[in-house]
C-alpha cells in the first residue's frame, strides 16, 4: 500500500542518518529523491508521509528496549522536517503553511493517542520530537543560517525563523494542559526549553512576546482551574513548583518581560499564589539599582526613576470594552453619573472561581477592575508628562476621584479588589508606583469614607501585610508604602480597632 511505501522511505531515512553525518551529500540526495519521486510532492502525500513518520517514531519508542536509543526515529523525523523546510523552494505553499500542515498531522495522531481512553499514552516521544526539532532548527539557523551559501535563500530563511518559533508556540498553545492533561509535564518542559524560551524572549521586536504571554497564561489558568483552597492535587503542586522555577529563571534572564507583562500574567494568576505573584511584580529592569525601601529619609518623589513611565506591553484599555468611553469621559470631565456607570458595571453575573486568601470565588469582575485601575494610572502618568505633577498628585484630580468613587460606591468586595489592583502597581520605582503610592496613602488617611473608613483602612493594611509576610521577594513599592503607613504620624496603625482586636496582627505590626 502507499502507506507501507511511506513507512519504507522513512525507515531508509532513519538508517541513512545513523550512518552518515547530516551534512553529508547523501542526505541531500535522499531529500532530492523524495521530491523527484513524488513522496512529498503533494499535500496528500505530505500528509501520508508525515502520518507514517510520526506513527513509526512513536511506535519505535514504545517497542524499543528502554535502555537503548529509544528516540532515534523521532530525532531522524525532526531532522527531516528541518531539511524539508530548508532545502525545498516554496512557491505554491509557504514555508509556514508547510510546517503547519506537518504539525497538524502530528497533532491528529497525538490527539488520538492522548485521548483514547484506557490508553497507555506516553508523552515522551512527542516531547522528544518537538525538543529535537527545536535543537535541529537552532543548529540550522545559527548565525543567520551561515551554512546556507545562497544569500537570497539565507535571507528568506532568516525572515522565516521568527515564524518557525511562533508556529511552534501556537501548537503548544493547542497542547496546553487543560486540553491535553496527559501532556502537561512535557508541555511545561517544552515551554521552558533552552532552545525555545530564550528565543521567544529575545526575538527581534519582541515578536515572540504575545505568544509567550499566551503560553504562560495557559499555564496559570491550568493552575487556577485546579487549585482549591481546600486541596491542591499533588500533580498540581508539582506543576506549581516547576512554574515557580521557570518564572524565577525568566526574572533573572529577562526581567523586562515580566515588567512589561505583569498585567496580563496577574489577570490569570490565582491570588492564593502570593509568592509567585511577588516574583512577577518584583521584577525590575536590568541594571536598575533600588534605593533602600526601609530608609527613613527616603522620599519616593525624589527617586529619579519615579519620573519614568513603565512600558505596559498589552494596553489594558483593550479590556475596558464598553466602559472605555465612560472612563475616559470621566477622566476628562468628572461627573457623578459617569462614576455611577463605572461603579455599577463592576459586578459579574453569578460568581467566578478565583482562589484567593480567604475566599474561593468572586462576584466582581476582577479583570475589569484591574484594567480600570491600571488604565487610570497610565492616563495619570501621561497627564503628568503633559501638564504638571500637581494635576495628578491631588485628591481633586479626576484620576484620584474615579478610584475613590469606586471605593466609596462599592461594597467590601469591590473595595478589596480595587485596593489589590492598586497594590499590584506598587513595584520598582517608576511613575505608576509613585502615583499609586500617593493614592493609597491618601485613601488610608482620607476623611471622606464616613463609616467605611475603618473597613477601607483594614483592607489596605491587609493587602500590604499579606504581601510582606510572604517569603521574599517583596515589591519595593509595597515596602515603601507600608513603611510610610507604619510611620505615619497622622494615623497610628497600632490604635486602629482591627489591629487591636487580633493579637497576632498587633504583634506582627508592632514587630514591623
Amino acid at each position: 500500500t502507499s502507506q507501507e511505501k511511506m513507512f519504507l522511505v522513512f525507515t531508509e531515512w532513519v538508517k541513512l542518518l545513523q550512518r552518515v553525518p547530516d551534512d553529508d551529500i547523501k542526505v541531500t540526495v535522499f531529500i532530492r529523491q523524495m521530491m523527484d519521486k513524488g513522496v512529498v510532492n503533494s499535500t496528500e502525500n505530505v500528509i501520508q508521509f508525515t502520518k507514517a513518520a510520526i506513527e513509526l517514531s512513536v511506535g519505535s519508542f514504545k517497542e524499543s528496549d528502554p535502555t537503548s536509543e529509544v528516540f532515534i526515529a523521532a530525532d531522524a523525523f525532526s531532522k527531516l522536517i528541518v531539511k524539508l523546510l530548508v532545502l525545498q523552494t516554496f512557491t505554491d505553499v509557504s514555508r509556514s503553511e508547510y510546517l503547519r500542515l506537518m504539525l497538524s498531522v502530528i497533532t491528529m495522531v497525538f490527539s488520538e493517542d492522548q485521548g483514547m481512553v484506557g490508553n497507555s499514552f506516553n508523552e515522551r516521544p512527542y516531547f522528544r520530537l518537538i525538543s529535537s526539532l527545536l535543537c535541529q532548527w537552532e543548529e540550522a539557523s545559527a548565525h543567520s543560517f551561515m551554512k546556507i551559501q545562497d544569500q537570497q535563500y539565507r535571507n528568506e530563511l532568516v525572515e522565516f525563523s521568527p515564524d518557525f518559533y511562533n508556529i511552534i508556540a501556537s501548537f503548544l498553545h493547542a497542547f496546553q494542559p487543560i486540553a491535553y492533561p496527559g501532556f502537561s509535564f512535557a508541555w511545561i518542559t517544552l515551554l521552558s526549553h533552552r532552545m525555545f524560551l530564550p528565543k521567544m524572549l529575545r526575538l527581534p521586536g519582541k515578536a515572540g512576546w504575545s505568544k509567550l504571554v499566551l503560553l504562560f497564561t495557559d499555564l496559570l489558568k491550568f493552575m487556577a482551574q485546579y487549585t482549591k483552597r481546600s486541596d491542591v492535587p499533588d500533580a498540581v503542586s508539582v506543576v506549581y513548583k516547576g512554574a515557580l522555577r521557570v518564572f524565577l529563571a525568566v526574572a533573572n534572564d529577562a526581567p523586562g518581560f515580566l515588567v512589561e507583562n505583569h498585567y496580563e500574567l496577574l489577570n490569570n494568576l490565582p491570588p492564593v499564589y502570593m509568592q509567585l505573584r511577588n516574583v512577577i511584580l518584583s521584577a525590575i529592569p536590568k541594571n536598575m539599582v533600588l534605593p533602600n525601601p526601609y530608609d527613613a529619609e527616603l522620599r519616593i518623589g525624589d527617586v529619579e526613576s519615579c519620573q519614568h513611565v513603565p512600558n505596559v506591553y498589552y494596553d489594558p484599555v483593550r479590556d475596558l470594552k464598553n466602559l472605555k468611553k465612560p472612563v475616559d469621559n470621566y477622566l476628562r470631565i468628572p461627573s457623578a453619573s459617569l462614576s455611577r456607570v463605572v461603579s455599577t458595571s463592576l459586578f459579574k453575573p453569578g460568581s467566578q472561581k478565583d482562589t484567593g486568601i480567604g475566599y474561593d470565588n468572586v462576584s466582581v469582575d476582577t479583570k475589569l477592575i484591574n484594567a480600570i485601575v491600571l488604565h487610570v494610572g497610565i492616563e495619570a502618568a501621561l497627564e503628568k508628562d503633559k501638564t504638571t505633577a500637581t494635576a495628578i498628585f491631588n485628591t481633586k484630580s479626576s484620576y484620584y476621584t474615579l478610584l475613590a468613587s469606586m471605593l466609596h460606591d462599592g461594597n467590601t468586595e469591590v473595595r478589596f479588589h480595587v485596593v489589590q489592583a492598586i497594590a499590584n502597581q506598587l513595584r520598582y520605582p517608576n511613575a505608576h508606583t509613585h502615583w499609586f503610592n500617593y493614592v493609597l496613602n491618601n485613601f488610608f488617611l482620607s476623611e471622606d469614607w464616613g463609616n467605611n473608613t475603618a473597613e477601607i483602612q483594614e483592607i489596605i493594611v491587609r493587602t500590604l501585610l499579606e504581601r510582606v509576610v510572604t517569603n521574599k521577594p517583596h515589591c519595593w513599592g509595597i515596602v515603601v508604602t507600608f513603611t510610610e503607613l507604619l510611620r505615619s504620624s497622622e494615623c497610628s496603625i497600632m490604635t486602629l480597632p482591627f489591629v487591636k482586636t487580633v493579637p497576632e496582627i498587633e504583634h506582627i505590626i508592632k514587630h514591623l
Binding site: 502520518k51 499514552f121 485546579y226
Partner: protein, 197 residues
C-alpha cells in the same frame, strides 16, 4: 464542510482534537478522575534533561568506546562547585553561558596539548567548540587559511632599551611536529585571516 473533515487520513484524530476544544471552552470545575489519571501518568513519564538533550544521530567513532568499569558514571561529571568568581578570569567569555557548565569547567583545566587534540580530532562537535573557546580565552587565535592556531608572545624588555617590549609569534604545528613552533621572521599578522570566535 472543511475538506479536512472529509479526509480519512485525519480520522479519528480530528474527533479527539475537537474533544480537547470542548474542555478548553468549558473546563471541568473539579478535575474528573480520568483527567487526574492522565495528569498522574504525565507526571510519571515527565521528560528529564536526558530527554531534552541535543539529538546525536551519527557519532563519528572517535575513540572506540574502551571498556570502563561499571562503576564509572555514564553521565558527564557534574562539577557543581560555586567557587567565587575568580577576579583574574575577566575575559568576556568568562561570563558566557558555557562558563558554568561542567564541560566548560573541565576544559579550563586541560593543558594546550589536550585542547589541540580535541580541536583537531573532534571536528564539528560541541567539544571542538569548547576547546576553541578555551584556546581563545588563553589568547590563541585561529587562522582560517592554514588552519593553525597562533599565539602572540609579548616580552617586556628591561628599561633602557629603545623598545619597551618585543613581540614574537608562535603557532601550533598540528601537521608534523605536533608542537608549538616559533614563526619565521617573515610572518605578517593579517587580522582578516583570523577567525573571530
Amino acid at each position: 464542510e472543511y475538506s479536512a473533515f472529509q479526509n480519512p487520513l485525519f480520522r479519528p484524530g480530528l474527533d479527539y482534537w475537537l474533544e480537547t476544544k470542548r474542555t478548553l471552552l468549558q473546563p471541568h470545575d473539579t478535575m474528573p478522575a480520568e483527567m487526574a489519571a492522565q495528569l498522574e501518568s504525565s507526571l510519571l513519564n515527565c521528560p528529564d534533561s536526558l530527554d531534552a538533550d541535543t539529538p546525536k544521530l551519527y557519532q563519528t567513532p572517535l575513540s572506540l568506546p574502551h571498556p570502563t568499569s561499571i562503576f564509572f558514571p555514564n553521565e558527564t561529571i557534574r562539577l557543581v562547585s560555586n567557587d567565587p568568581v575568580d577576579p583574574a578570569k575577566n575575559h568576556q567569555k568568562h561570563n558566557d553561558i558555557y562558563s558554568r557548565t561542567s564541560m566548560g569547567r573541565i576544559m579550563s583545566k586541560f593543558d594546550l596539548d589536550t585542547l589541540f587534540f580535541i580541536f583537531y580530532h573532534y571536528q564539528g562537535t560541541y567539544e571542538q567548540f569548547l576547546a576553541a573557546r578555551e584556546l581563545t580565552i588563553r589568547g590563541w587565535q585561529f587562522n582560517k587559511l592554514n588552519r593553525c592556531w597562533f599565539y602572540k608572545e609579548v616580552e617586556k624588555l628591561p628599561p633602557g632599551m629603545e623598545q619597551t617590549e618585543e613581540v614574537s609569534w608562535r603557532y601550533f604545528d598540528y601537521q608534523k611536529s605536533w608542537l608549538a613552533r616559533r614563526c619565521g621572521a617573515d610572518f605578517i599578522y593579517r587580522e582578516e585571516e583570523f577567525e573571530r570566535i
